[in-house]
Amino acid sequence: MAPRIYDALTRVVANLGNNSRVLAEHAGELGIMVWNIGVACVRLRVPSREIFRQIFVVGIQSVPIVVVAAGLIGVVTSQQGGYQMQSNLPLYVMGSVVVESVILEMGPVLTAIVIVGRVGARITAELGTMKVSEQIDALYSVGRDPIEILAAPRVLALMISMPVLVAVADVVGILTGMFSAQFTLGLGPETFFYGARLFWHSYDLFYSLLKAFVFGVAIPIIAIHMGLRTSGGAEGVGRTTTQSVVFMTLTILIIDAMFPPLFLQ
């Protein structure tokens, strides 16, 4: 009996140690990568053509899905808000509920989740495939640095695209929220925006875009990091891509949870 408990305990401790070692490893590698990307940018070694191409692929081509997602979020927020405050509160409060939840929370977070699926997964799979088929090695062998020509353009592109995408999502979400309030609650646009203005701080928009920017940095960095440490063929690419999506989603939610105490005081 006793040895078995002892065994189990050892295993738990060993697992704990192993996990923290892996975590430390990730953190160290991430840190070095971020540093190298920074150095590549400062040395102006990032090909601008590739940055523009990536902005097109990750930014502009993401607009449709972001618009659809944001549109639905606006509708849902306004419906649900209307349902919960039936006859308890003045209706114009709805304007504030929709605008504030879209701008502060739903817009940035849901756009980020959509981008994790559409762009983050793609980056990990793309770089992971290049890694396992030795294309990353081949780049080094011809004197090119994958950090400069693959990683940095993707980070810069998302850093620039995310705030724009979130701004689009904010606008679309507010508009569909407003229309939906008009159809279901009979709340006119003037009343809607009257309510919105009552509780509006101009700081809120900055907060929304700041969140977007931070997500826009976090997503590609994790995606690239995971992609470049892929091993084990097609299965390995699949495994790392899944891990990467989980990792990115959790990071988004954790960052999101840290935002109010840091920036809303």
């Binding site: 088929s133 030795e134 294309q135 780049l139 080094y140 062998s141 011809v142 004197g143 090119r144």
Partner: protein, 265 residues
């Protein structure tokens, strides 16, 4: 012994190279290759021949030891020195490792270092890519615009070689350059290796399973087995060696006899 009277100048030196993954792969490899030499490394599958070649340009970092290229340390010389070493070496990957999103022309062009590319006119780049493809017995007009996925295995291999020689490097590392090629193309590649060595004084280090070809063509050969260099010397010495593992590679009858020595089941 050698065609090179001044052949005592080592261009590649492996100094006590150790590398373990899950199990030890290289355990103290010492070897030096002279300028202008054609040098072949034989060895059973999975002994670390590819790993050893990759340590030459820091595609795989050894756990211990160092590699010197033209007198400069690969691992202790700093970033600039490594960049210079990589520009000086062409690497032929065992599985071609072509950039699969780039056309054949762009792939071959990547073989020319950025510093040189900057001062070349477009016509010159095209001519050099064209010539490189001709040297590997490909019809440039037919393949230049194709993507790697549209090529056969042997064609990919030869495009990989064209990329490695595009920058006319002083040193070429060939990982099984003729595996998977038909006899005519094998002869073409062997002739290419000879010509580069004779006309441009290129140093060639090749890993090959084609022992006959290697012995026929190379100035010196070595045998890597059990993580160490088991034999190193001239082809004549190789043929006369009475080491059973070396004998196994020298003739077929001995290979069967060696099944026991190498513990092949």
């Amino acid at each position: 012994m050698s065609r090179h009277s001044n052949g005592s100048e080592p261009v590649i030196e492996y100094l006590d190279v150790f590398k373990a993954f899950d199990t030890p792969v290289l355990s103290g490899v010492n070897l030096s290759v002279q300028k202008g030499e054609m040098f072949a490394i034989f060895g059973p599958s999975g002994t670390g021949k590819s790993v050893l070649l990759k340590t030459t340009m820091a595609l795989i970092i050894p756990d211990r030891g160092d590699v010197r290229v033209a007198g400069d340390s690969v691992y202790f010389g700093g970033r600039r020195s490594l960049e210079k070493i990589r520009d000086n070496i062409g690497y032929v990957f065992q599985y071609a490792a072509l950039f699969d999103s780039l056309t054949v022309f762009e792939n071959v062009k990547m073989g020319i270092s950025e510093n040189i590319l900057r001062d070349m006119s477009r016509i010159d780049v095209e001519r050099q890519a064209w010539e490189s493809l001709e040297l590997v017995n490909l019809e440039p007009g037919q393949v230049l615009g194709k993507l790697p996925a549209e090529l056969s295995g042997g064609m990919k291999k030869r495009v990989g070689i064209a990329r490695a020689i595009a920058g006319r490097p002083e040193i070429l590392l060939w990982d099984e350059p003729t595996t998977g090629l038909d006899p005519v193309n094998t002869a073409a590649i062997e002739r290419l290796i000879r010509r580069l060595s004779h006309e441009l004084d290129t140093t060639s280090l090749l890993v090959t399973h084609d022992v006959e070809g290697g012995l026929d063509m190379c100035d010196r050969v070595a045998m890597l087995e059990g993580g160490k260099i088991r034999f190193s010397g001239t082809p004549e010495a190789f043929n006369m060696s009475d080491d059973p593992v070396v004998r196994a590679f020298a003739d077929r009858a001995a290979a069967i006899a060696a099944l026991d020595v190498l513990e092949v089941r």
